[in-house]
Symmetry: C2
Subunit: 339 residues, 2 copies
């Protein structure tokens, strides 16, 4: 087994957090995988409510919960002392603990002991599998669509999840493939590509979207940006290893510079498309762009529509805000191009 | 300290190897850093001779040797039982042990104890530093020339070392920067770029060639190939983080396909140049190619010269086999372009 795999159903642990923005993973799980979530557990009893039934660990274990997912971030990114009793009790009850925090779960002695005794697993979704291969570049069966960003934090994961949902609703054979920690928690499996040693990045991407049915689409979460001064090699390895048939450029309307790298202007969208095609051709000569996904939250209603219309006319591609418009226009394009 | 750093002078350990081709690192050290090498030690007494005075560990310690470098590979890439007594004795005498094998030196209990007691270091040159930053893309002072390969194993390290030597001989201010394990042993410092987690590859490349004097050249060892199905993301991170002013394309005459990836034809040289310029512009808009380094060992004398002449005429660049012609023509081009 070369990807991380979680067991469902889940209990979402929201700790003692009262700030909703810290509980992104918990809300993401409820939004995208409500059917896998049995309940929530907050320490204070009055913490953030992600909209699931409140459960004790005893109730969770009795109702068949297999994993407790830490759905919140603590200040500093580690595991606070105040969470420990609960995590240890969950592990003792045979429930897997799943986290994406800086502290390694295995490095907490009480927790490791509890897990060893019960046989439950401690899963750090930031830690990639150890037996990843070097990329072969060999053509795989099935079809792949990769999210490509002009930058980090532009909605690549959201777009992929929305696309998977809409494709499935349309009766298509599709699966979201997670390449980052939050995506892995939502998908229940995946590989944290940016944590993979660089020799194995494209190999990891190959493992992430293996051979599949001819009509099957892997909807692959993107990472970084191909023009990013810090992360472009992550994006390149993911692109080369994914050998996508199609890609979607994701961006945020109004952003002018690379987030946190203020000396770097964002590349024009057409340039992102061209560069992605050039590099993607190494492993899939037929690669093409099938749409643009825009986070338009900074625009008002009238601006929003004219922004998308102008972009669409300019690039000759469907342009949508998946949060507001859904992804049907992009799916239509995919079907037109690949049927 | 963010790069590996070795202490000289060295004792070269050649083990019980009788096959010269296994002792590449040992011969490389003698060829490029003879002044740092005090002696050699072979287990059988009749092993491969790298051309240094034979020494016992006692003699080595007394003559001031600071590091014993494992200059040979064993079958399987690990450390054979038969080497252990010698490694332990060296560590006990306070001599650092330096290796680039699969077995981690720290994982051998006897060796770890000996090193802890004497204060000597166990240095695995395959293990990158732990505190590498994410790449910033910020312009650094000094000048940089990067070796770029059409493929792996085409002479990138050799070219960089030859160039450093010839630049120094010409009175220029230059330093070889090692990005791979053998290079690190030869240079005495560096970062094994391909072993760095992908999020930090361009940051590692930034650390490898830090700010320097305006007239100083970093001569940077390349890795992989920008069109390589397995390793292109390593090459990209190194390119973006190195922000080279100039680069040299390295290739082997007669090679038609990527070594070990027989379905992939080698890219044309002009395409390697174009792609390197396109990507390199992200962090250095003035990047340019200054020459071609060809391993011509497969060609006879007459073929060799006409091959280089034709290539030079076609590309408008100096083309040399550094092993046979030296690198002066490329240095002339560098000086013309950057003075």
């Amino acid at each position: 087994m070369k990807t991380i795999e979680l067991k469902s159903p889940y209990l979402i642990f929201v700790g003692d957090t009262v700030e909703s923005s810290y509980v992104k993973t918990g809300f993401g799980l409820v939004e995208w995988r409500r059917d896998l979530c049995k309940g929530q557990l907050s320490l204070s009893g009055s913490g953030v409510d992600v909209g699931l039934p409140t459960m004790t660990l005893k109730q969770a274990a009795e109702s068949g919960v297999k994993s407790m997912i830490i759905g919140t971030a603590a200040v500093g990114g580690s595991i606070p002392e105040s969470w420990l009793d609960t995590l240890v009790e969950a592990a003792s009850r045979g429930i897997d603990i799943v986290a994406g925090v800086h502290t390694r779960l295995m490095d907490i002695p009480r927790l490791r002991e509890a897990a060893e005794q019960s046989g439950s697993r401690l899963i750090d979704v930031r830690v990639p599998p150890t037996d990843l291969p070097v990329g072969t570049g060999k053509k795989r069966t099935g079809k792949r669509v990769l999210m490509v960003g002009t930058d980090c934090a532009v909605g690549k994961k959201y777009t992929a999840l929305a696309l998977e949902k809409d494709m499935k609703a349309a009766g298509m054979n599709a699966d979201f493939r997670a390449s980052g920690q939050t995506g892995i928690m939502i998908a229940g499996k995946g590989i944290p590509i940016d944590a993979v040693v660089s020799d194995f990045v494209s190999g990891a991407a190959e493992v992430l979207s293996p051979d599949n049915d001819p009509d099957h689409w892997d909807v692959i979460e993107g990472q970084g940006g191909i023009f990013h001064p810090g992360y472009s090699s992550v994006s390149m390895g993911l692109l080369v290893g994914s050998q996508p048939d199609a890609f979607i450029v994701c961006l945020e309307a109004g952003r002018t510079h690379i987030l946190g790298w203020n000396d770097f202007e964002l590349p024009p969208i057409a340039q992102v498309i061209d560069r992605t095609v050039e590099i993607g051709k190494q492993t899939n000569p037929a690669i093409r762009c099938v749409g643009i996904s825009v986070n338009t939250s900074s625009l008002n209603g009238a601006e929003r529509q004219s922004y998308l219309d102008e972009l669409s006319a300019k690039l000759g591609l469907p342009c949508v805000d998946p949060l507001k418009d859904g992804t049907q226009k992009i799916i239509d394009r995919l079907n037109k191009e690949f049927n």
